[in-house]
């Protein structure tokens, strides 16, 4: 990674004029006609908030509350545990009624520990909000602490704790702070609306991030079709752009909003396969995260809500909602007028990388940007898969330059080593391959399955390696003890067998034995001085002790 860091030529601000391309990708139908024009509405306070302890990459937060506790809006209810973790706050006021496993937004319908708050409808804070921080005078570390306290994670989807990403700037010099506002998946418009309606806050959030990571340059990347958002950002910058923020439009090619793809488009550099953008001097943050940072530093509010696009032909009135974290999806759908008659599929996230869930009794977590409900007409069931004919259309569109047909071949035949050799783990699961596959093979499903298998296998290997190491250590310890004993014995034997040594040893042993006898005699003759006027009990004890000593001497 170090080589890559040095090979990254320092880009001057001007050099970002040019755009690069990444391999593959797709031009997808946008489906944003409705939602991109809908102003952000409030989804209100639901009767119940379900707050999963794990809404980010890393370790789950540790609950600080008990069932029955009254909580205020913005109160810290679970603290981060470990370096990669995030705080969790009550997104409205009410009573904690349970801390238990609940279904969460997960492709496999997983249950996970959640804090459940019955809201009181007052939505009240404990105190008046603190005064805005003057971030321009603050040290990067201090700012990071505030961001950490606010429980901010990447709102683009991955949910990486923001302070951890920002802390990279302490270790290596950051050339470019990249604000990702490229909503490349169809249907989703939450970032687009955020920029249109809250451009000033977004820009100020970006300035705070600039202060926190001290980059040489800063770009807000938006998509070609976001003219209104671009105008809003530019007019917000027009009042003063001392920190040199640039707004750049990138072509609408899915998945140009992927972190690695976007970095390639803007800089021409590739993030190393197993590395991070910071390895090549870049920190990438979602535009929604920038707004959350603004709230944390200026409004002094932790991350309590986010914008969610609720859309699809299965939703009566598609809209964008400012949603409290923990709001049930069912509540959000009800806010959007409920489902239409022929709704068939409910997706969390976009239509390319999102996952289908079987019910809507799950909470909106920090990383959910879209709820998509569709009918059979809009997204028919996938046709049955046919054999792969190796046509290579998947290779043409793969943004990671993989050979999806070969990966499928190996994943299908459970040849996991070969799949890994063909760089399975560089797959970003964007779904381009499956989208173009004329045989309708659910390729991404195969890759996910193979990855899971490999992880399970590695875990197992690690466990058995550990056991084997322990076993080997024990064997070698026993062996060592045996050898040492043998060595001692051999030494003794040698000492005994050598002639001169033997007589000397014997003499010394006899001498020592004589000395011992003499000493014991002296001890026995010696009369203790304090034996006058003893009680009968004491005398009996002394007699018993003498007897024991006598017995001991005899046996020796």
């Amino acid at each position: 990674m170090a080589e890559s860091a040095t090979s990254f030529s320092r880009p001057a601000v001007e050099s970002f004029e040019r755009l690069y391309t990444f391999h593959g990708g797709l031009k997808l139908p946008g489906h944003r006609e409705v939602t991109a024009k809908q102003p952000i509405q409030s989804a209100g306070v639901p009767a119940m908030l379900v707050l999963p302890l794990l809404q980010h990459i890393g370790e789950p937060a540790k609950s600080l509350v008990q069932p029955g506790d009254t909580v205020y809006k913005g109160q810290l209810i679970a603290r981060q545990s470990g370096a990669i973790s995030a705080n969790l706050h009550a997104s409205s006021s009410g009573t904690v009624i349970a801390i238990e496993e609940r279904p969460v937004a997960h492709p496999s319908g997983l249950q996970a520990p959640c804090i459940i708050i019955e809201t009181d409808g007052l939505d009240r804070y404990r105190d008046e909000p603190a005064a805005a921080l003057d971030y321009s005078r603050m040290q990067p570390g201090e700012l990071c602490d505030h961001i950490r306290e606010a429980g901010i994670v990447g709102l683009g989807g991955a949910g990486f704790p923001t302070q951890v990403k920002l802390a990279c700037s302490e270790r290596s010099r950051i050339e470019l702070l990249l604000i990702n506002a490229v909503e490349c998946e169809p249907y989703i418009a939450c970032d687009n609306r955020l920029m249109q309606e809250h451009a000033t806050e977004v820009i100020e959030g970006v300035r705070i991030l600039q202060r926190a990571v001290q980059p040489d340059s800063c770009i807000i990347a938006i998509e070609d079709g976001m003219a209104a958002a671009e105008e809003a950002l530019r007019s917000a910058l027009a009042t003063g752009n001392e920190t040199g923020i640039r707004v750049t439009r990138v072509p609408e090619i899915y998945p140009s909003g992927g972190e690695r793809q976007l970095i390639k488009v803007l800089t021409g550099s590739e993030v190393p396969s197993q590395g991070f953008p910071a390895d090549i001097g870049i920190i990438c943050q979602n535009v929604g995260t920038a707004a959350a940072v603004y709230n944390a530093v200026i409004k002094r509010q932790p991350l309590l809500s986010r914008i969610v696009t609720v859309t699809g032909d299965g939703i009566a009135e598609p809209q964008n909602f400012a949603t409290l974290i923990g709001t049930p999806v069912s509540h959000l759908v009800a806010c959007a007028g409920g489902y239409t008659q022929d709704v068939e599929r409910l997706l969390i996230g976009g239509p390319m990388m999102g996952y289908a869930v079987s019910h809507d009794d799950i909470p909106v977590s920090k990383t959910i940007n879209c709820i998509l409900a569709v009918s059979h007409e809009e997204m028919p069931a996938p046709p049955p898969a046919q054999p792969c004919i190796r046509c290579g259309k998947c290779t043409v569109v793969c943004p990671a330059d993989l050979l999806p047909q070969q990966l499928y071949w190996y994943a299908h035949s459970n040849n996991l080593d070969a799949a890994q050799d063909y760089n399975l783990f560089d797959c970003i699961e964007c779904g381009c391959c499956a989208y173009v596959c004329p045989s309708h093979i659910p390729l991404v499903q195969y890759y996910r399955h193979a990855k899971t298998e490999i992880w399970a296998r590695e875990k197992q290997t690690m466990a058995s390696d550990h056991a084997r190491q322990r076993h080997e250590a024990r064997l070698s310890r026993l062996d060592r003890i045996k050898q040492e004993r043998e060595a001692r014995m051999a030494k003794k034997k040698q000492a005994l067998s050598s002639d001169g040594g033997r007589s000397d040893m014997k003499k010394a042993a006899i001498q020592a034995a004589l000395e011992r006898v003499k000493r014991k005699k002296q001890q026995a003759d010696m009369t203790p001085k304090n034996v006058d006027n003893l009680t009968p009990e004491q005398q009996r004890l002394i007699a018993a002790a003498d007897k024991r000593r006598q017995h001991k001497d005899d046996t020796e």
């Binding site: 190393p272 999102g354 760089n423 173009v436």
Partner: protein, 338 residues
């Protein structure tokens, strides 16, 4: 409410294998029309016989292998039949396309596991079996402009008898490539042959037009993204390159690159046969090498081999090399060093 769960991506898919095969068949039409125009109805009878055999054989094999028979609708068997028919002389007896298709579908395709699993191009495997087993029938090409009616052709194909006024040797004629080979054997030079009726405007008489129309169809396939450019470009440039080298050395005995490109099955092979994705290379760079290999081998077999054309053998030979080429031509993965 219970929703249906499927794996991502969820956007409806566009293409299908059947659409791809249909497009390939459509792209063959201009070339087929040109063959009919030049050589008469024989090719139509070939196509009908071959398609029917291929479809029946595929259906029977699918049933025997307990696979859904309607897999037939993917169109791959039909395409194999049509491609094999196009490789055969238009006046071949009826059992030629039948045997060829039976071998192609039953042995070269279904016994290996059906669509997607055959290591060799089925049409070419069937053709080569015919070429080796029945060399006489396979080299009796019609003369361009033959005027046999559809029914007369049908009668001839099934019974071998011609109308009284027609003689077989007026209907058939050696192909330009065969003719040149024979005359070169008699120490004639190419410049001496130039005035011969087997030469057309820039390549073999008639064949240049057939190749041109297959080229048009192939370009349409490229534009529709049914095939990718690497294999055709590789094959045609391989063929043109080696032809140019030898032509430059001795133009008296080696034909021009243009002649090579527009003779025999060059264009049909480059756009329709070598591009069979199942048996070809699958990496982008591998496909280029694969095409180059076919081009070079085609020239070598055409020039020094004992068969009328080299495309079929070249394709089968490169089929064998495909897995190895794929292994050594993996693309650089995003974020990896070379």
């Amino acid at each position: 409410m219970e929703f249906k769960t499927y794996s991502s991506p969820h956007l409806p898919v566009s293409g299908s294998v059947a659409t791809m095969m249909q497009r390939v068949l459509i792209a063959l039409l201009p070339g087929i029309a040109c063959v009919i125009w030049l050589f008469g109805w024989g090719i139509v009878i070939n196509i009908l016989l071959a398609s029917l055999t291929a479809l029946l054989a595929e259906a029977a094999m699918l049933a025997l292998r307990k696979r859904p028979v309607m897999t037939l609708r993917d169109g791959s068997a039909l395409l194999t039949g049509v491609l094999l028919a196009l490789a055969l002389p238009p006046l071949a007896p009826w059992w030629i396309p039948v045997i060829g298709c039976l071998f192609a579908i039953v042995i070269a395709k279904q016994l290996y596991g059906g669509l997607g699993y055959n290591p060799f191009n089925p049409a070419m495997a069937g053709y080569v079996v015919l070429l080796i087993s029945f060399p006489l029938e396979l080299t009796m090409w019609s003369a361009p402009g033959s005027q046999l009616s559809f029914t007369d052709t049908l009668v001839y194909v099934f019974s071998g008898s011609l109308p009284a006024e027609q003689a077989l040797d007026t209907l058939t004629m050696a192909t330009p490539m065969d003719d040149i080979k024979t005359r070169l054997g008699l120490s004639e030079t190419l410049s001496e042959m130039r005035g011969s009726p087997v030469f057309g405007s820039f390549a073999g008489a008639g064949w240049e037009w057939i190749n041109l129309w297959f080229l048009v169809g192939g370009l349409w396939l490229l534009q529709m993204k049914v095939i990718q450019w690497q294999i055709p470009v590789g094959m045609l440039s391989g063929l043109a390159f080696i032809a140019f080298v030898f032509y430059a050395v001795n133009p008296d005995i080696y034909s021009t690159p243009l002649f090579q490109l527009f003779s025999g099955a060059a264009m049909l092979g480059a756009f329709f046969i070598a591009t069979d994705p199942v048996s070809a290379c699958t990496t982008p760079r591998g496909r280029l090498y694969y095409g180059l290999g076919i081009g070079l081998l085609t020239y070598i077999i055409r020039t020094w081999g004992g068969y009328p054309d080299g495309v079929a053998f070249a394709v089968l030979l490169m089929n064998m090399a495909a897995p190895t080429i794929d292994h050594y031509t993996r693309p650089r993965v995003f974020g990896h060093d070379r």
